[in-house]
């Protein structure tokens, strides 16, 4: 049974690919050729690998926003809002520091974005703890409030008058953009994502803080009786999750758009939630999951061009994989019931 944690999701993945094959066949495409395009577009060449890893970068960070609070038994779905406020804070900081050097500007942008996203989700955690406000709903509401604030600011006082079609802030300056890793076209955001996943894994696995969090997640009353400050830990964990998603917003601004605009609201937050669940809230498992779904994002263009399929094809495939991965949780649970299998 040692392989079950890998075997069950893998089976779910293969099943969803089979289901997707039937679906595209019904739509008149050649399923095997579509699989081949997905492979080529996502992992077939170095060029497609680079696209995949670039798409995976924000997904890793937004997944952490759900995965960390989940260790406490909280379901936070505010990644989208944290990306938005993080991106906004990053753009503002970038504009303030536009006359300084790139290192200072980028550091300032990253810190501001993490602070903004962290405080947003930290507030969600605090409201949960001190006022018993359901964290799922409040974080959903904060998504909408954040998007409204972003729209208000980029259309109003922060707007660069030259951005006609898509109102945006002023550009943070080409020399202050987040660069690529070596000779690749993969920007530093990918490294941020991997580093964040690894550090947070170590933090939760190897420190007393992580132990305290797991204890609160396991039994709040026992944790409280042993003297742990539940509220403080809830706030800190939510702060870290929000900071990760806020950093995703900074990466989008500093490495991709150069400005803050409504492109920040691109669904990374919602996809991140599902990646966190698919990775069973394990920070290290988030990395391959994010790469998988980044690959599907990267391949959807090729799939569309090669087979004349609608651009929503990638979305259908994502939906099918998520549904079956979530359903596979039930198999884990059944195993646990029947055989005392520790999932």
């Amino acid at each position: 049974m040692a392989f079950a944690p890998f075997l069950i999701p893998l089976t779910a993945l293969l099943l969803s690919l089979a289901l997707f094959g039937v679906f595209v066949s019904l739509a008149g495409a050649d399923a095997l050729a579509v699989y081949h395009s997905i492979y080529r577009g996502a992992f077939g060449t170095w060029f497609s690998w680079q696209n995949t890893l670039v798409s995976a970068a924000p997904l890793m960070l937004t997944a952490l926003c759900t995965a960390l609070p989940a260790r406490l038994g909280l379901i936070v779905i505010g990644g989208e809002g944290a990306v938005v406020v993080g991106g906004l804070a990053a753009a503002l900081t970038g504009l303030i520091l536009i006359d300084t050097n790139a290192w200072l500007a980028l550091t300032g942008m990253a810190l501001a974005a993490m602070l903004a996203g962290g405080l947003l989700i930290g507030l969600v955690g605090w409201l949960r703890h001190s006022r018993n406000v359901n964290e799922t709903i409040s974080s959903l509401l904060f998504n909408y409030i954040s998007i409204a604030i972003l729209s208000f600011l980029v259309i109003g006082m922060l707007r660069d008058p030259e951005t006609l079609n898509k109102p945006s802030t002023h550009h943070i300056g080409e020399t202050h953009m987040l660069g690529a890793l070596g000779e690749t076209s993969i920007h530093w955001g990918f490294a941020y994502g991997v580093i964040a996943c690894v550090i947070l894994w170590l933090l939760f696995k190897r420190t007393t803080f992580g132990f305290a969090v797991d204890m609160i997640g396991g039994n709040v009353r026992a944790a409280r009786l042993s003297g742990l400050s539940v509220g403080r830990n809830i706030f800190l964990v939510c702060l870290m999750g929000g900071a990760a998603a806020g950093l995703a917003g900074m990466v989008e601004v500093a490495a991709v758009h150069g400005r803050a605009n409504t492109s920040l609201n691109a669904g990374y937050g919602y996809e991140g939630i599902l990646i966190a669940f698919a990775a069973r809230h394990h920070p290290l498992a988030i990395i391959p999951m994010a790469i998988l779904f980044g690959g599907i994002r990267a391949a959807s263009g090729l799939m569309q061009r090669d087979h004349d399929l609608p651009d929503a094809t990638g979305l259908v495939l994502q939906g099918m994989i998520f549904i079956l991965l979530l359903a596979s949780e039930a198999v884990f649970a059944r195993l646990a019931l029947n055989k005392g299998f520790k999932a």
Partner: protein
């Protein structure tokens, strides 16, 4: 009448019309979500139902030439998505929030995929009553063009309130929503009741989608929904799980949504995005207040227990 006064009147009339037009899909998704949540489960995937409903409703209306058959088809797709949601959620360790988001992605993807050929053709619209015929103000006449589905929704709200309060099935749903154990002790099949409630809620959300494509804004395109399905969850909390308050809340959200464009029409261009956020801020304040004053919030017990 002075110029400024008539401007504000224009805004007022546009908000009134918007409350009805923009509020109707809100009304259907919130009643659907209310029904599902009363049984103790959250369906965050109603956005998928809404978009699938809009697409299926438009397609079937175009093929058959009957807008009402389209509404029925939209409801049917909602039932199917609701069935999938309920089937997955009743498995052990499967989280209903995650399943909802996954179904939202899948439903949206399927609707865009299948609906690609529907962007061009024109399907018949749902009929409307011209309640403003007495007035010679064109803006008021437009605002009082009441769609038949809105009237259905308005009648449905008190009907659902009665259903919860006074019918045997309503009691069954409420019991399941309050406590699994109590429901089992009464001999109810908890999973079955939740499944039926989720499917019926899905039907209503699908119908809300048909309103989008078959009346207002009308037509099928990928930008048709602006997140009304996701907001259903917030609306139901705002309405404190009461169908009648769902009606008022939907009108309020609809009016708030119409405030921006109508202010823009009279020259107020910035600032209205903040008005768009007003309903969410209000919901949040309501949640904070309800939790601190120990007032019974109306939340079903099995939702509160987690």
């Amino acid at each position: 009448m002075s110029g400024e006064e008539s401007q504000w009147l224009t805004v007022l009339i546009a908000v009134l019309g918007g409350a009805i037009r923009v509020g109707t899909p809100f009304l259907f998704v919130s009643l659907g979500e209310c029904l599902t949540e009363k049984s103790g489960r959250i369906n965050l995937g109603l956005e998928g139902n809404l978009i699938m409903g809009a697409m299926a409703g438009y397609g079937v209306a175009w093929i058959t030439g009957s807008a009402w058959l389209g509404v029925l088809a939209a409801g049917a797709t909602g039932v199917v998505l609701g069935f999938v949601h309920a089937l997955l959620c009743q498995q052990p360790r499967v989280n209903d929030i995650a399943v909802g988001i996954a179904l939202m992605i899948l439903g949206t993807g399927l609707a865009f995929f299948i609906g690609k050929p529907l962007i061009q053709p024109t399907a018949p619209h749902l009929p409307a009553l011209h309640l403003g015929a007495w007035s010679d103000n064109p803006a008021l006449r437009a605002a009082l063009e009441i769609n038949a589905l809105f009237i259905v929704g308005v009648l449905l709200a008190p009907a659902m309130a009665w259903f919860f309060r006074s019918s045997r099935w309503g009691l069954a749903i409420r019991t399941v929503g309050e406590s699994d154990d109590a429901a089992r002790a009464m001999g109810l099949n908890v999973n079955l009741v939740r499944m039926l409630a989720t499917m019926a809620g899905g039907f209503l959300a699908g119908v809300g989608g048909a309103f989008l494509s078959l009346y207002y804004p009308g037509g099928w395109s990928e930008g048709l929904s602006s997140g009304q399905g996701l907001m259903a969850v917030a609306l139901v909390i705002f309405a404190r799980w009461d169908p009648m308050r769902c009606l008022y809340a939907s009108l309020l959200f609809g009016g708030a949504g119409a405030l921006g464009p109508s202010l823009q029409a009279v020259g107020v261009t910035s600032g209205y995005y903040l008005f768009n956020a007003a309903p969410y801020v209000l919901t949040l304040i309501l949640m904070i207040a309800a939790s601190s004053t120990k007032v019974r919030s109306g939340m079903p017990g099995s939702l509160a227990a987690r």
